[in-house]
Homo-oligomer: 220 residues x 2
Amino acid sequence: MARVGICEDDADVRRVLTEGLRLADHDVVVSRNGREAMAAFAAPGSVDVLIVDIGLPDADGRDLCQALRTSGQHAPVLFLTALDGVHDRISGFHAGGDDYVAKPFAIGEILVRVDALLRRTRPAPATPTGLVLDPERFSVRTGGGEARLTPTEYRILAALAAAPGAVVRRRAVVAAGWPDGAMVSENTLDSYIRRVRAKLETAGSPVELVTVRGVGFVLR
Amino acid sequence: MARVGICEDDADVRRVLTEGLRLADHDVVVSRNGREAMAAFAAPGSVDVLIVDIGLPDADGRDLCQALRTSGQHAPVLFLTALDGVHDRISGFHAGGDDYVAKPFAIGEILVRVDALLRRTRPAPATPTGLVLDPERFSVRTGGGEARLTPTEYRILAALAAAPGAVVRRRAVVAAGWPDGAMVSENTLDSYIRRVRAKLETAGSPVELVTVRGVGFVLR
DNA sequence: TTCCTCCTGACAGGCTGGTGACACGCCTAA
DNA sequence: TTAGGCGTGTCACCAGCCTGTCAGGAGGAA
């Protein structure tokens, strides 16, 4: 679900992190020291979240973080701290939106905090239509309320909301709703459009899902 | 951050402790022997954590601790032991939730252990849900009551409570509940969710453990 | 009018998650 | 040693939801 960059010199810790994060459906990019990390993570957008050991062999994790920030990398950072007295010095980072975990840690704790960082920094995309789609909960919020969608309904609405005011062709909507390339009948799409309309109405949405006959659908 | 009581007869050790703890933003109250300690720390709630030298001139630190406990002082205690064979006799205290450090020590080690004791005994993780998780007793308290959890149940609830209101994916919950990476069947998680729900109800919790179908679970 | 597209209500099948029960291993008390 | 309690993991079964499809009908285009 997200790209996680790791900078950790201890091979065992690296392995635990990598396996745990991959099990949780994340892509993992590993580096073993500050130099490798700068090479791998300096590009803005290259990762969604970083896990950085404070005590690297060639650098202080916090200095590395500073350097990455300077180069335009704004992904949130989860610091790993060894069992010494860095607690107080870390607290400033914590307040800044990043987080830290003391070693030894349970991998579950890491996963929960990574999720929290991703949520914090990946705000719900507010479309120009005023619809707020929440990919966490497969829900749609409007000024009037909220409605829960099924995964397929969500994908369809997301495809339409990605280009509000523009007509999305039926084939494109099908491709969005069934990304695995499943063959569904024409009528199935119509059924789902109807369900999405019902959900939008439930949510008290001012936005209408309008049919453009012979072409596709558009959000207005 | 916390009020730390010190009972130590060696002036150098007292100074190191005091300076280190104050740098780490703790309030420090000092006493030099058992008599002063009883006077200063007997009142319940007067300190958040105690650092007590085992070898005091007028008392054994463990007896002092016992006396303080009797008078209602339940702050956790970090014992300082000289380098002799007290390890085994101390271990009983360790199991009881307290901790010990052998002299000579690094001040960083003291700070970390004080933090650990504070975390352990002052968890009151002010979750916006109103749930209070007690990692010492694997219990959950709510406005309505208290329920004891098994370790696995506790880890699962803690993972959810760490991000109240946010959906925690099934895989993340599994990773939190079984941090050793054990493979458990999908249904096992469902069973544990059911058990946690039952415990929450037992505790009269106003918080609900809600399923987000196809995604995970959320505390509300 | 006729044809075609789309809307609607309904339904069956499959899947996910909830529930109750049980077996196993470990630990403790008798 | 034995019995019982507890924590744990799994199973079978069930209910409800999601999904895909169908038939029938409404309404726009030619």
